[in-house]
């Protein structure tokens, strides 16, 4: 009885820890192992080596996925941060109706990617969507058919992605701005600094940690992006808007290439790890420093 009492905290956490160890880390190890085999429909446990990774990197479809991921990440990251920072700074000017505007900017975050994708798929419909609106108001030759154009549909995913996530970046930057001491800004004003240089030279450099968080969140979101593409383009036309997450599920569940799919999953996992581990390390060191 005494033993139970003494170890109660460990006993309480152990079921969750066991689930975490098995279903997260154990499963990742399983996927890593399978990626080194020749498994097709069913997993086979004879080690083969890194052949699947060579296969993966020799596939055009994988190259399309990776280059789409790159395009998406660069644009998604840049646009979300630019829009987020601008909106946060503007909202921080003690304006009337801030609450309402904030609510409007952030509500897309509450919607699922499938809902967002469904809505934007209709808005960007090549004949009846935004194109028809512009034709109706007088731009007779206006066309907007990116959604069905190879090589352009990925930009539709960017538009919808930015629409959904930029408000969130605004929110974390606004929280960051609010935590900066007003006195610093006041002092700079007295020294004659303009509002623009106050932000670019004093305030934004102080927000480095917020930038770091925003970048890590957005990059890891874009590596995981799956639902939005499914709802908006389903990877099409053809496979032109594929991303690694789509590639993985396609080969795992539709094409019965379990080992190849696992190797693509491991590429995703390793990329996220390479970004997140240094970030967590620096975050936790910062936290220790505060104590």
């Amino acid at each position: 009885m005494y033993w139970v009492k003494k170890n109660l905290p460990k006993i309480v956490i152990s079921p969750s820890f066991a689930l975490l160890a098995w279903f997260v880390y154990g499963f990742i190890l399983w996927t890593a192992y399978i990626s080194l085999t020749k498994s097709k429909i069913l997993p086979k446990y004879d080690l083969w080596g890194v052949g699947q990774y060579f296969r993966l990197w020799s596939m055009d479809r994988w190259h399309t996925s990776v280059s789409n991921l790159f395009i998406y990440t660069v644009l998604f990251l840049t646009l979300c941060i630019v829009i987020g920072v601008v909106l946060a700074i503007l909202l921080d000017q003690k304006i009337r109706g801030e609450g309402v505007l904030r609510t409007i900017y952030l509500y897309p975050m509450a919607l699922s990617f499938i809902v967002t994708g469904t809505a934007w798929k209709w808005i960007m419909n090549p004949t009846m969507g935004i194109e028809k609106f512009f034709v109706d108001i007088g731009f007779v030759n206006f066309t907007f058919d990116w959604l069905v154009t190879s090589g352009m549909s990925i930009y539709c995913v960017v538009i919808a992605g930015v629409w959904q996530s930029s408000g969130f970046i605004m929110a974390i930057f606004l929280a960051g701005l609010r935590s900066i001491d007003d006195e610093i800004i006041k002092a700079a004003k007295i020294d004659g600094a303009g509002i623009f240089s106050i932000y670019t030279k004093i305030v934004l450099p102080m927000m480095r940690p917020v930038f770091m968080s925003a970048i890590v969140i957005l990059v890891h979101l874009s590596i995981k992006s799956y639902d939005l593409i499914i709802a908006l383009t389903a990877g099409g036309p053809g496979t032109s808007s594929d991303m690694p997450a789509i590639f993985m599920t396609q080969y795992a569940f539709n094409r019965s290439e379990v080992a190849l799919a696992s190797s693509s999953a491991m590429m995703m996992f390793l990329t996220v790890t390479a970004i997140v581990i240094p970030y967590l390390y620096s975050e936790l060191r910062r936290e220790d420093g505060k104590r």
């Binding site: 109660l8 499963f27 919607l111 699922s112 929280a175 639902d227 997140v276």
Partner: protein, 307 residues
């Protein structure tokens, strides 16, 4: 100090004219963005209220001729068509009613279980330090970042072995397991900000693990529990990847059904029904956001500015 303030006032007065222009530009930019964010919602609602005829004639932003909720009814419970054998459901049509309840049956237990365990974990990790507790926390924290593609295949096999594939129970299990990382993280970050002194005093008085939790910590946990519940609810309700991978047909959650509904085009595309369906699928989380936006935002920022 007073001199500084005077100077500041002077500065502000001299640039008052400039300031009004700034203000106008400021509101203009904010307004344009507000339109950008609100327009899709307007388009969804307007389209859902139009007839297909109105959609063909008008454009995205034209107003519906009347408040016609037919599309909503079709999206919710399907369309009955007259045939020789009486009323019959239009074959090949997906409608949301059953899937909405699927999602409800999935989300309630999954949110409750993951939140309860998250609170206990966060409490154990912060107020009862033990060997390696920091490493355990790090493992939970990293678990919030992993791309789920790395666990999909073994999870599908495991659910198969347990006889839980294609069932709501299976999805509850999956969402509890992967939600634990988030709930533990939220609660741990909240409890760490609460003074250890209270807990220490209670321990000296002989209070045990659970009585300290229920009598001291739980009563002051409302803010973080609300944040955690809202976060989990939004995540699980909006999930598509797990739903689409581990279930199909009748057992699918609502996001999967919505996607199927939009994809399965019968003879003619019905954009009004698609939009009504999208609104129905997004409605619960949107309501939560409108009613408890403050906690929703807190969850987002708590989940992002980690550690």
């Amino acid at each position: 100090m007073e001199k500084d303030n005077l100077k500041l006032i002077e500065l502000e007065r001299s640039s008052k004219k400039k300031k009004t222009i700034y203000r106008w530009i400021l509101f203009l930019i904010l307004g344009i963005f507000a339109i950008f964010y609100i327009a899709p919602l307007y388009v969804m609602i307007a389209t859902s209220l139009k007839t297909m005829e109105e959609i063909r004639i008008g454009n995205l932003f034209s107003l519906p001729g009347s408040l016609n909720f037919d599309s909503w009814v079709i999206a919710w419970q399907g369309q009955t068509v007259n045939s020789t054998s009486g009323l019959k459901m239009d074959a090949g049509n997906v409608f949301l009613k059953n899937y909405f309840w699927n999602s409800t049956k999935m989300v309630v237990p999954a949110v409750l279980i993951s939140t309860i365990f998250g609170a206990l974990n966060g409490y154990a990790l912060t107020k009862w330090r033990f060997k390696y507790d920091n490493i355990i926390f790090l493992l939970f924290l990293f678990g919030t970042f992993i791309p789920y593609q790395a666990i999909l295949l073994p999870m599908a096999r495991t659910l198969g072995v347990l006889g839980l594939s294609n069932s709501i129970t299976g999805l509850v299990v999956v969402h509890v397991i992967y939600g634990l990382c988030f709930t533990t993280l939220f609660c741990r970050n909240y409890y760490i900000s609460i003074s250890d002194e209270i807990v220490r005093a209670a321990r000296i008085d002989g209070a045990g693990f659970f009585s300290i939790f229920f009598k001291i910590l739980l009563p002051i946990s409302a803010p973080i529990l609300v944040v955690t519940v809202i976060w989990q609810f939004t995540q699980i309700w909006n999930d598509f990847l797990f739903g689409a991978t581990f279930s199909f047909g009748e057992a699918a959650p609502i996001q999967v059904a919505l996607n199927n509904m939009v994809l399965t085009s019968t003879s003619v595309k019905r954009y009004n029904v698609d939009m009504a369906a999208a609104i129905i699928a997004g409605f619960p989380t949107l309501i939560v956001y409108v009613l408890a936006g403050k906690y929703f935002i807190r969850g987002l920022t708590a989940g992002s500015v980690k550690g």
